[in-house]
Point group: C2
Chain length 503, copies 2
């Protein structure tokens, strides 16, 4: 089987090399030939067998499902039993290279052999089906499982955590940890809770329910439950008709690309946004709605892959500290390796750890890391029935092992270089179609010249066998798995070039 895969790879490299007329081309075929495929028996490339995607089988399944569910957002029905590695197979038999990976939530792609093996273990099977209330009755090996998974990759300086089931619950509960921490500071050391607080909180009133706020950024996406959605400002369709709360919103820097040609303007943009942050904190504190915390993504993903400089984040942390607000970094989409470091905020060289870091998606389980002072000092304050799921943590343990064994962070860095170089070249060749390539690792986006162009690119890529996604108004976002290798990157670039040349 392995020999087969090697042959497939060789064929692929040959094909790629033959297609070397491309402007971004001249990839070192020698280097590629040395690269072992990380997933044996992956398809050698995409294969499109229907005249349009979704094809007829997907369409008929959509109609069936529409009898039960709202299905407007469904794009394709996939055959997960046939999907493998970086390739998805749809129910019509189309094989697509997946650079979107379930909205960036598949760290090792599809049916990774090491994950499949997990369920040959009878104890693991029992863990999958005996889901405990983790906050009350964890299993024998829970501490070890956490040490081998989440704690083995904890962000520098953060040694405590709380597990949750999804990204929204992670942020919602991180908010609560921030409120309790803030209130404890207000109360002062040794102070006790008053009867008035205990009674007033039961009826949603002050002082038990204090009017704290969280500062978020325009363009942010932090989830869709009430607290999260109040901090979310990416698209109107997410927020329309939903009651909200008056929380401060600061502008997120909007950079000009290429960065090296706009250093001065971008630094000025940082300065203006940071000034606004501090103004808003003063303003909300003054009107009796103290800013208990600041929530920010290291890269605004859903909002359009908007980046800010390390200096911006360093200064933001200083502003938070100066004003007694907690700094929460939401790594739900950026965490788990796609930027080439395990956590995107590690790129920022912060002088100390952020107060809280939330995660989900590629981490398979939701939750947050935090400084010790953000752990509640009583039980049942940050709590729910499941508090996550050991089945996901067992899988994450294996994912972390594979990431280390296969040097996947290095792979991401290498692969990201190939993508960035290729995209920068294509951007120069087709400035009328794409621009503003930006990213870290393989967490990369580029803009179409407008929304229609972006949509056309995503659509045409699909018909050439590349499954990508959009974000923001006009960006194409790349969110491949950590097992996406340089030969996949080249295949993507070839197909994109072909799309751009036909636009």
């Amino acid at each position: 089987m392995y020999r087969n895969a090697i042959n497939q790879l060789k064929n692929h490299v040959t094909r790629n090399t033959l297609a070397a007329g491309s402007v971004r081309g001249q990839q070192t075929a020698a280097k590629l030939a040395n690269q072992r495929p990380l997933i044996a028996n992956e398809p050698s490339g995409p294969m499109i067998v229907t005249d349009s995607i979704p094809g007829p089988v997907s369409n008929s399944k959509l109609e069936e499902l529409s009898q039960i569910q709202e299905t407007h957002s469904i794009q394709l029905f996939l055959d997960y039993n046939r999907s493998l590695g970086n390739y998805i197979v749809d129910v019509d038999g189309n094989i697509l290279l997946d650079v979107y990976t379930q909205i960036s939530s598949m760290p090792l792609g599809y049916s990774h052999p090491d994950l499949l093996k997990l369920l040959n273990n009878a104890d693991n099977v029992r863990s999958f089906i005996n889901r405990p209330a983790l906050g009350a009755f964890p299993g024998t090996d829970w501490a070890d499982r956490l040490k081998n998974s989440l704690m083995a990759v904890s962000p520098p300086g953060l040694q405590h955590l709380c597990t949750m089931a999804c990204g929204s619950c992670s942020n919602e509960n991180a908010f609560k940890a921030i409120y309790m921490w803030y209130r404890n500071k207000e109360r002062g050391p040794g102070a006790t809770v008053t009867q008035e607080e205990l009674e007033s909180c039961m009826v949603n009133k002050q002082p038990g329910s204090p009017p704290y706020t969280l500062l978020s950024f325009m363009g942010a996406f932090h989830g869709r439950t009430m607290g999260c959605l109040t901090a979310t400002h990416s698209k109107a369709i997410h927020k329309l008709d939903i009651p909200s709360i008056d929380w401060p919103m600061a502008p997120f820097p909007k950079y000009k690309y290429p960065l090296e040609e706009h250093t001065r303007e971008n630094a000025e943009e940082d300065r203006k946004c940071l000034e606004m942050v501090e103004d808003l904190i003063h303003q909300y504190n003054k009107k009796g709605t103290p800013v208990a915390g600041i929530i920010i993504e290291p890269i605004q993903a859903e909002g359009g892959d908007n980046h800010a400089s390390p200096e911006f984040f360093q200064n933001l942390q200083q502003i938070a500290k100066r004003n007694g607000s907690a700094l929460l970094i939401d790594e739900v989409q950026t965490g788990g390796g796609p930027t080439g470091k395990f956590w995107a905020h590690e790129h920022f060289n912060l002088p100390e750890a952020p107060d809280i870091v939330t995660f989900s998606k590629k981490m398979l389980t939701g939750g947050y890391y935090c400084k010790k002072e953000f752990l509640p000092t009583q039980g049942y304050r940050i709590y729910n029935t499941w508090m996550g799921d050991p089945g996901k943590v067992i899988m994450l343990e294996e994912v972390v092992r594979v990431i280390k064994r296969d040097n996947l962070l290095e792979n991401v860095q290498e692969c990201g270089d190939v993508l960035m170089k290729g995209l920068n070249a294509l951007e120069k060749q087709y400035p009328q179609h794409i621009n503003s390539t930006r990213g870290r690792g393989t967490f990369i986006a580029f803009d179409g010249s407008d929304a229609a162009k972006r949509d056309a690119i995503v659509g045409k890529l699909k018909m050439k066998g590349i499954h990508s996604g959009g974000c923001g108004d006009k960006a194409v976002r790349l969110r491949p798995a950590l097992i996406f290798q340089p030969h996949h990157a080249n295949m993507f670039l070839d197909k994109l070039e072909s799309v751009l040349s036909e636009l």
Copy 2:
């Protein structure tokens, strides 16, 4: 193996019969002898091997875990590989009969053989590890999976659904479905969304973010994310220090027990509470914060197993309809069979279905059923990355099959009768210790004479091998699995009688 189990059962029945001096006794040994155990090789009874619970191994594991997590609410570490059926085994080797089942979330108890078999199937294994973004890329068999699981047990009159990962997300998203429905009614047929709405919602302002409210009940528990927590009023520790919103709260009926002796007072209690509901709706509508919906549990569980009559719920539905508010019944704890019907609200003979029914826990997946008019008419409005988890739905499919095959709803009814009769007898014998036995099916609670007495009962039951839980101020709640059989019920009653006799 099966013969072994039969012998164990016979031994157990003999022991039970020998203990027949008890006041509630006279259980029909003949009937019990005919009952096949639903789980082969279950322990024949509890076995306590440590002087206290938690024992030394649990305590040392707690200390280890406390280095990583907040652990104040952790009661025991369990060995899930050795737990089976209705019995949990803790890390110290204590075997306990579990009538609490992970806060009521294990429909078939531990390591049910039919669930274990699921993961012998390679396709199922792939479904467990290839978790899709269900709202965009469902798997080949998704509609069939839903039909065989959630739709096979949908509440009468509700033919649509939305899957979510947990109870809080289910309620949060059900709230959003209600707001959208309410706003569409306000807009009127054919009206379009204005630019002002689209822009104002992005900054959390009216008219895009309308100031809708949801009416909830004192004593309610609906979860702990911001929207859910605003509707929750069970315990101060859940709400203290968390910002909240001014939403209307009505009193939930407080009944006197036994019900048959207090018919008039309890009917008057219903009337007063319902009057308050309608007053609050008028009041909040009038002040510009319209009550878009009413959320209520069929039985307030966390709040103390507070029941209300079918007439109360029938009238509540009429009030909701009269005032244009949606009626959301939160069946997160009551759903999935423990009341002897699949959904607790089926006991209420409502003239039509509630508008939305939320679920989680015993259903393994979260989500909600709804009337068609509560489905959004655009995509990405009720949405998140995972939208649930096919792995859980595959398990639920098997759970539903086993419930039907093994007539587990009948088992629950039969078992509930045994428990109710036994508890009523014990309540008469020990009126100084316990009172107010109430319940449907095996979803039963009784009160201790005060909080300390309740705590003593739960603690002493544990040392006799019964793992139960508290709720509200002074209630003991029983939440056994659906495979809890009359012989387990008798064992519980024997132990409880022994505890009460020693108090």
